[in-house]
């Protein structure tokens, strides 16, 4: 019988406590004297637990997680690749981890050097002129890029007229959400039959109200836009700018520079392409790269080198301002730089080559058991459709849940929206052939199960720490925090299940 999982507040009690603090070595005065007239709280219902209880609790919790160090994570668009361990170690060096952002430039030359080197390196990789590291994640990078575009149009006196941003229907949800946050209006254009941008639809959407187009390259189906140069050219002819969503940069790194495709600005997800750990949902980092025309608008402060020393400059009258309290997610940026330097130019090329090879290999193999709506060669990811299984009463969601029983994370499902019952698969370059084959075999087995034992899929997963969860009840009851005096539910005795 397994020991029941309890929340921290359901454990311990009076007298249980963690690490001791040193005794106060300065003269102690009564709080009321130091904080006169300040209303203080009478109670603080945080847990009372000892260090061993805390450690056990979180280690027990940790065993309930799937993670990339344990198994395959074919999440399309998420680039779940191996995170090199050395990167964590480097970012934890006390000189970097304890560096304070307000220590002043002279006291921070090491940190500034890390940011400066990363900016320079990312500019080379993307083919742009300058980079800001401030955005804390991809979505904030998108917003920053759009604010730069707005500032550019304002400088041309066209900001009031150019209020529309064109977004293809295959785009990530963050794109239209960022468009709105920037005060723009989204114009959605349909993809053509090969799921790439339809020049006809583009032409219809473009006019003198167009501020920009936002494109993901390769797109969310893993397809490279074959007419990309034509697309960016026409946008420029209409007076708009071209924004590249860099979520899929892993397909291009070392192979193609987005700046050469005619883009004016892009964001980079360091937690995808440059392999910083996802952390169970962050922190990420979303540096933004721009052409020379957009440089004057970059967020302040901007890093400058003079006589071999680095300093932050705030003297940018046309800047859009700050987007972060400090200079972005430095600890993540340092890991990204370490990853890039470890790989070097040839290594980065190998990253995209292998990511593309792995995806094409898997795609061809799986196209024999699942529908492949777009049979072109893919880049780093591809999208299957599970609609062929509907006749057995099986949905894509069921396939995803059943995969969990094979020790594999589910792919991204029901996205992009333009593919029915979509399964979006991105193997990344760090999966080896035997792992790809294991995944393919599991997918094939599941397709067979759908025909022969569809009920198995509908009940899956069967071997995970919990079974399918009641999401409707969660949204209805909205229990979002523990209540004081809550008791742990009494668990029924149960054996550890046998693994599939």
């Amino acid at each position: 019988m397994k020991f029941p999982n309890r929340l921290l507040l359901e454990q311990g009690g009076p007298g249980h406590r963690g690490p001791e603090l040193p005794r106060c070595d300065v003269p102690v005065r009564p709080l009321g004297e130091l904080l006169p007239g300040v209303p203080l709280r009478d109670r603080l219902d945080l847990p009372r637990v000892s260090e061993p209880e805390v450690v056990r609790h979180f280690i027990e919790l940790s065993t309930l997680n799937h993670h990339v160090d344990r198994g395959f994570y074919p999440l399309g668009s998420c680039t779940m690749k191996h995170n090199p361990k050395i990167d964590d170690e480097l970012a934890s060096f006390p000189g970097l981890a304890l560096a304070h952002p307000l220590a002043g430039d002279e006291a921070s030359q090491g940190s500034l050097r890390v940011i400066f080197e990363l900016e320079r390196t990312l500019a080379e990789i993307t083919g742009f002129s300058a980079v800001t590291t401030q955005p804390a994640a991809g979505a904030q990078g998108e917003l920053t890029g759009l604010l730069l575009i707005r500032a550019y149009h304002r400088s041309k006196g066209e900001a009031d007229r150019r209020r529309r941003v064109i977004v293809p229907d295959s785009a990530h949800g963050t794109n239209p959400a960022s468009v709105r946050l920037a005060g723009y209006e989204t114009v959605t254009i349909p993809s053509e039959e090969h799921a790439t941008v339809s020049l006809e639809a583009l032409e219809q959407a473009l006019d003198d109200r167009t501020a920009a187009i936002m494109l993901t390259v390769p797109n969310t189906l893993g397809l490279f836009e074959p007419r990309i140069l034509e697309v960016t050219k026409r946008v420029h002819e209409a007076g708009g700018l071209a924004y590249m969503d860099g979520a899929n940069l892993n397909a291009l790194v070392g192979l193609v520079r987005p700046g050469d495709l005619g883009f004016d600005v892009m964001h980079i997800n360091t937690h995808k392409t440059f392999s910083t750990p996802h952390g169970g949902g962050g922190p990420g980092a979303g540096p933004v790269a721009v052409t020379r025309e957009l440089e004057p608008f970059l967020p302040v402060p901007v890093l400058e080198e003079r006589d071999g020393s680095l300093r932050f400059s705030y003297d940018r009258p046309r800047s859009i301002g700050r987007v972060h309290s400090h200079y972005g997610n430095f600890g993540i940026l340092a890991r990204a730089l370490a990853y890039i330097l470890a790989n070097g130019p040839e290594g980065l090329r190998r990253v995209s080559r292998t990511a593309i090879l792995n995806a094409n290999y898997l795609m061809r193999r799986l196209s024999e058991s699942y529908e492949l709506p777009y049979p072109e060669h893919c880049m780093h990811e591809f999208v299957l459709s599970g609609r062929g299984l509907k006749k057995y009463g099986v949905k894509t969601l069921d396939v995803a849940k059943r995969l969990l029983d094979f020790g594999v994370h589910a792919p991204t499902v029901y996205f992009p929206l333009i593919v029915e019952e979509a399964l979006m698969i991105e193997p990344t370059e760090t999966e080896t052939l035997d792992r790809l084959d294991h995944f393919a075999t599991a997918m094939e087995k599941i397709a067979a199960e759908a025909r022969e034992h569809p009920e198995l899929l509908r009940e899956a997963p069967l071997t995970t720490p919990v079974a399918r969860l009641d999401e409707a009840r969660a949204a209805r009851e909205l229990k979002l925090r523990w209540g004081v005096g809550d008791k742990a539910p009494i668990p029924e005795p149960r054996e550890t299940p046998i693994r599939a």
Binding site: L46, L96, G282, H324, E429
Partner: protein, 456 residues
């Protein structure tokens, strides 16, 4: 160094299976002219040994490598118990994705639920989300929420708000929609706020303790906001909240006898909970509010439920607020949060617990006030503001604060933040923070720096 395991023979096999002869055939959609025909002009490849040497060199170029810090201004060097690092470094937490498949993410989801619970408890609010990028963007999101809730545009902002938070607000909003109520004696004066409040105010934003370390008067500020039909947004420090009356809690016993409304939204920077300064990021924005506002909440939210067999479990909930479902109608564009930082905060709060966190806060108060007493006794120095402060205060120096900072550097002391870097008229002001980590002896060395640096 490469992180790819692929033999030439395997590569050939895979190319054949992909139905091409050469790798380049897979790139048929890429216009030939844009394919790079030369290696990128970047450094590397570096081995681990070389990486350690390179980054070690950079780490040593920072004063943080060995100096004793009295720096604050939103980022604090509190002690991080060893167990926080040990747990947060676990692959199971660090290398997991966002918990979109809850059956294999109960570790992350349970920890988020506990984080939400502890932030709600500290702030006195009904609910908290799974975290935001940093305190500044959490404040922005709170203002955006207030605007959509009230249908009004204007944000009334205390002049004692962190200048960088105000700067980020100005980037996200039209600056014409922001009214800054100037501070007097370092604090927002409720009567000034009342005079400035109009019918177009969506919210009142104040920081407590504020940028100068001073404690504000939440009760009259929140009351004024409520009476004007605006939401009150408190920007708080979670360590201070171990001692202070939680701003999100409504109370019946106000000073004038009437019921007193709590803050509608409490946000802030949670870096001080178990996270290193890391040159200002990754940080940990937190966001808590009333239950009635939950459907306007930005970001991820974990909720308790049961599985098919009736066992307790946790899921992400109300995802229809979020961009991946709602696209342009989402409450925010935020996708990634600060999961691992929130986990560190959760472990930290668990380890410290209700007694430990209070002790940290009390040690900060004692040591900060001790340092302030020492400094005020040194000729030429004085506290810039009257009134109660928590673990930080502004010291007016007889010389430019930059000179005191310089004197400290040669003695391995970072004596405080030179506020002249924010505004020229603050150039004699040194913002000093004293955490529980600073010993009496270190505070004495700091005072020595003031004496040396203050001589003209």
């Amino acid at each position: 160094m490469s992180f790819v395991g692929l033999s030439p023979e395997e590569e050939q096999r895979m190319l054949r299976a992909a139905r091409v002869e050469r790798f380049e055939d897979l790139l048929s959609a890429v216009p030939p002219g844009v394919l790079l025909d030369r290696p990128l002009p970047i450094g590397g490849p570096l081995s681990e040994i070389e990486l350690r040497r390179t980054f070690g060199g950079w780490a040593r170029m920072n004063d943080a490598d060995g100096a004793v810090s009295f720096l604050g201004g939103g980022i604090y060097e509190h002690y991080i118990p060893a167990a926080v690092n040990a747990i947060a470094m676990r692959s199971e937490f660090a290398t997991a994705y966002t918990p979109y498949q809850p059956e294999v993410a109960q570790g992350t989801l349970t920890a988020i639920f506990e984080f939400q619970s502890m932030i709600a408890e500290l702030t006195g609010c009904d609910v908290a989300n799974a975290s935001m990028y940093d305190g500044a963007t959490a404040t922005v999101e709170a203002v955006l929420m207030a605007r959509s809730h009230t249908g009004r545009e204007r944000a009334m902002v205390a002049g004692s708000l962190h200048p960088s938070t105000l700067a980020v607000l100005r980037t996200y909003l039209d600056p014409r929609d922001i009214t800054v109520v100037p501070e007097r004696e370092g604090r927002l004066q409720p009567q000034d706020l009342r005079k400035a409040l109009g019918a177009d105010a969506a919210c009142v934003v104040y920081q407590h303790p504020n940028f100068f370390g001073l404690l504000e008067s939440p009760e009259p500020v929140q009351r004024a906001a409520r009476e004007a039909g605006a939401l009150s947004i408190a920007v708080c420090d979670p360590v201070a909240l171990a001692l202070l009356e939680p701003p999100g809690r409504d109370s019946n016993g106000a000073t004038d006898g009437g019921p007193s409304p709590g803050a509608d939204v409490v946000v802030g920077e949670g870096q001080c909970l178990g996270n290193p300064p890391s040159f200002g990021g990754p940080l940990l924005g937190f966001f808590a509010c009333r239950q009635s506002l939950v459907r306007r909440l930005p970001g991820r939210l974990a909720a308790e439920t049961v599985d098919r067999l009736g066992r307790r479990g946790f899921v992400l909930t109300l995802q229809t607020r979020e961009q991946h479902i709602r696209r342009e109608k989402a409450t925010s564009n935020i996708c990634t949060n600060q999961g691992l930082m929130a986990l560190r905060a959760t472990v930290y709060l668990g380890l410290l617990g209700r007694e430990g966190l209070r002790e940290v806060a009390e040690l900060c108060v004692q040591k900060t006030h001790h340092a302030a007493r020492l400094a005020a006794a040194i000729p030429g120095y004085r506290l810039a503001h009257p009134g109660a402060f928590f673990r930080e205060f502004v010291l007016e120096c007889p010389v430019d604060a930059a000179e005191v900072v310089r004197a400290g550097r040669s003695r391995q002391i970072l004596p405080g933040v030179d506020l002249g870097s924010f505004r020229p008229e603050w150039r004699r002001w040194l913002l000093v923070a004293v955490t529980e980590q600073r010993s009496a002896e270190e505070i004495e060395r700091w005072a020595e720096v003031l004496r040396a640096g203050g001589r003209r």
